[in-house]
Symmetry: C2
């Protein structure tokens, strides 16, 4: 962190003193990711002119990379200040998937300007890519891959890679295509580099190709990366023709986004698309209010049930004071189980068919946990209130509540999955609300039975 601050100050100073030759050397020696972070931070402190100077001083290659790492706001700001020639240079340095991402994020006037400056040969590809559904493999793939032919020798293949490799997003996997551009095999650069020059590609390529179709959900694509440890994955169309590849950096972004989305859903929010600070206060409120309203109104049902037992707590007012403890414990037990199941489903470790194995496991865990909690609570109640009846009531309630809430917690996510809903919807808050009603019912019924 400190190093970066030093670099920011250094660059700011060089800019201020207009020492452009030194600045060029310093800034182009940095990693593109770092340059983008530094320029974003500087953009709050220096004026537009100086920011443009710093960006213009980058080598063509760096400029494209740095641009692709900028936030959407920064990209828009920059585009509006670049000349057409500069814009053309930057845009044409971007890989196809980054071009498409950019077009999807920008307002329409900027989109028009970008399209005007894109190479005419790319325009058709971009239009094709823009047509794929939002969360599909097609929407995150790039079209810059190395294609080889079956009858090439290793020497010919390496020569081809040398010619076209610079513009490809990855050259570490090469795709062997038939005459009709169907994918007949894959060969990695490691194999090419360590094999004799005269060997024929067909004999050494991997023919058991793992691939996805353009319409595959991008979350499934990320799972394939996770399972097989690939660096890139081929994407084919309905006719099995290779149309693009997804690279691991994009798959990692998908994983990261999905993890954040799942967490947000599990905390009763609609997933936000932007970062925390980039999301406006009203958008934040909007993302949170729907579930809060639903859960608040469902909680009044629990309240309605409590009023039915007015006689019980009028006779024994101390009963009321244990409502929070019963509710919280039930909620916590339920959310423990639902979290484990939701996560297990997300990582494909737990499948719908495992439901009985899961139930059997959770019941046994619940019995152990319930008995320990009941016992701990009994000690505290007997010491404080000197009532064995109360301790017994609470003990039985606790055991039954724990069992019930763990069952609800493990079954609802599996049920959601079965109904093709997102299991993350069945997370802690909803489970808590459902468990609340059940545990209050158990509590007052047992109290009425034992103590009245």
């Amino acid at each position: 962190m400190e190093e970066k601050n030093e670099e920011i100050e250094k660059i700011q100073k060089l800019l201020k003193e207009k020492k452009l030759n030194e600045l060029r050397k310093v800034i182009n020696n940095l990693n593109s990711v770092d340059i983008s972070v530094i320029l974003e931070e500087l953009s709050e402190e220096i004026d537009k002119e100086n920011l443009l100077i710093a960006f213009r001083i980058l080598t063509k290659e760096k400029a494209g990379e740095v641009f692709s790492y900028f936030s959407t706001e920064m990209q828009e700001k920059l585009i509006q200040n670049l000349t057409d020639t500069e814009l053309k240079n930057v845009i044409n340095e971007l890989y196809m998937d980054d071009k498409v991402d950019l077009l999807e994020e920008m307002p329409s006037d900027v989109v028009e300007r970008i399209l005007k400056n894109v190479k005419s040969t790319d325009r058709e590809t971009i239009n094709e890519l823009l047509k794929y559904p939002e969360d599909s493999a097609g929407s995150i793939m790039t079209t810059e891959f190395v294609d080889l032919k079956e009858d090439m020798t290793v020497e010919e293949a390496l020569k081809r890679i040398k010619q076209i490799g610079l513009e490809k997003e990855t050259i570490y996997y090469c795709y062997v295509l038939s005459r009709s551009r169907k994918l007949s095999g894959i060969i990695d650069l490691k194999r090419l580099v360590i094999t004799e020059d005269t060997e024929i590609i067909k004999n050494i390529m991997e023919t058991n190709v793992i691939k996805v179709t353009t319409l595959e959900d991008k979350e499934e694509v990320a799972k394939v990366f996770n399972k097989y440890n690939f660096l890139a994955l081929p994407v084919v169309d309905k006719e099995d023709k290779l149309v693009g590849i997804v690279t691991i950096d994009d798959a990692m972004d998908v994983m990261q986004d999905e993890a954040t989305e799942d967490l947000e859903k599990m905390a009763a929010m609609s997933p936000k698309e932007d970062s925390y600070f980039a999301t406006s206060v009203f958008k934040h409120a909007k993302n949170r209010i729907v579930w809060l309203l639903i859960l608040m109104l469902s909680a009044t049902i629990t309240g309605g049930i409590i009023t039915k037992y007015e006689d019980a707590f009028a006779a024994i007012p101390i009963l009321v004071s244990f409502i929070p403890m019963i509710m919280d414990t039930g909620g916590n037990c339920g959310s423990q189980s639902s979290t484990l199941i939701i996560r297990g489903l997300a990582t494909d470790e737990i499948k719908i068919k495992d439901i009985f194995k899961v139930i059997w496991k959770e019941i046994r865990v619940a019995i152990i946990v319930g008995i320990i909690l009941a016992f701990a609570n009994a000690i505290s109640v007997v010491l404080q209130h000197k009532s064995i009846m109360l301790a017994t009531t609470l003990g039985i309630t606790l055991i039954l509540t724990v069992i019930l809430s763990k069952l609800i917690g493990c079954c609802l996510p599996l049920l959601a999955k079965k109904l093709k809903l997102d299991p993350a919807l069945m997370a802690a808050p909803l489970i808590t609300t459902i468990v609340d009603t059940c545990s209050i019912l158990i509590y007052f019924n047992i109290a009425t039975l034992i103590m009245l």
Copy 2:
């Protein structure tokens, strides 16, 4: 999925009919990950002898890969049934990091057998690697990287890669070392392949090397991968000598594990190390009971506060029925905020110094959300109970509870981070328990003020 089941049946049939030549062809054509999954599933249905046959039929290279993907139980079972020669072949096919992982997981008698069969030249390296602390970069790195010299030409470099590449975990990044084995630069294979043969490495290598030290936390290592989109990251010792590399597949495993651990902590559990089904019922109970006990006993504090207001709910029993609604809403609001902040901290988007920006944002969100909830609740209460006093009491309580719980929810994770504790500890369950007490206090004080 269906495809895999077909393959399992096919392999089972071939094994049963002892058609080993065909089996050899079928099984060696599959991806190693798939073979490991298939053999694990088969191991429940076929006897040990047939399983060994299926494993022995794999090519040497596949056998090593498949073995590294097996679960710990399967690895142990297999080792106990392999001859010393077979074990030697399998072990020596593994990359160094996988050898070390294996040794860390196995019981001591198996460890002894493995060490006896490891190449003597590797034994020293293994002992060095075993010494690194559990969650350090050193513990997940491998020592099989390609090292080059500054004065080599591209042609010489490619020749060296051809000679030693097969045994390296990745050849896509090559590390340029000085005479004292200090890391002076990095060059990726893409650059080597597309550059003229006569170019000198020193002129084309990247000198701004991003690296970590052996003792760096593996979670930080994963963050570096995420930030820079690297495929491998060099690990240096205190004297800046290159001792190993971490590859992206291992970094992804770390990310996956951390995400699961965070979720478990956020649902009030101690993180489990094994998968859901591999963890025993007692282990599950143990992981869950500690927080349940702490939270249950803290909830009795809320209960204690309620008893102080016995007069209030004796006079107006309907007050009791809104306890669940107030508690749940406070808990949900708090967990929304804490989840956003915990996630923001985990992805480095939110920093401790942002605390005032966060508070200011959360207060504004809370006011909007609080007013909407108060209004929605007022309509429901007026319709049901025809009491404007009650609606006012609940409205004020809701607004104050939402503001307070959002403040607690955003401040506690930041405080935990400041105190160098894991922010995930400050997740929903703990926030809920703290918010409960506060909201009950707000509720009964306002009710006493307005309604008594």
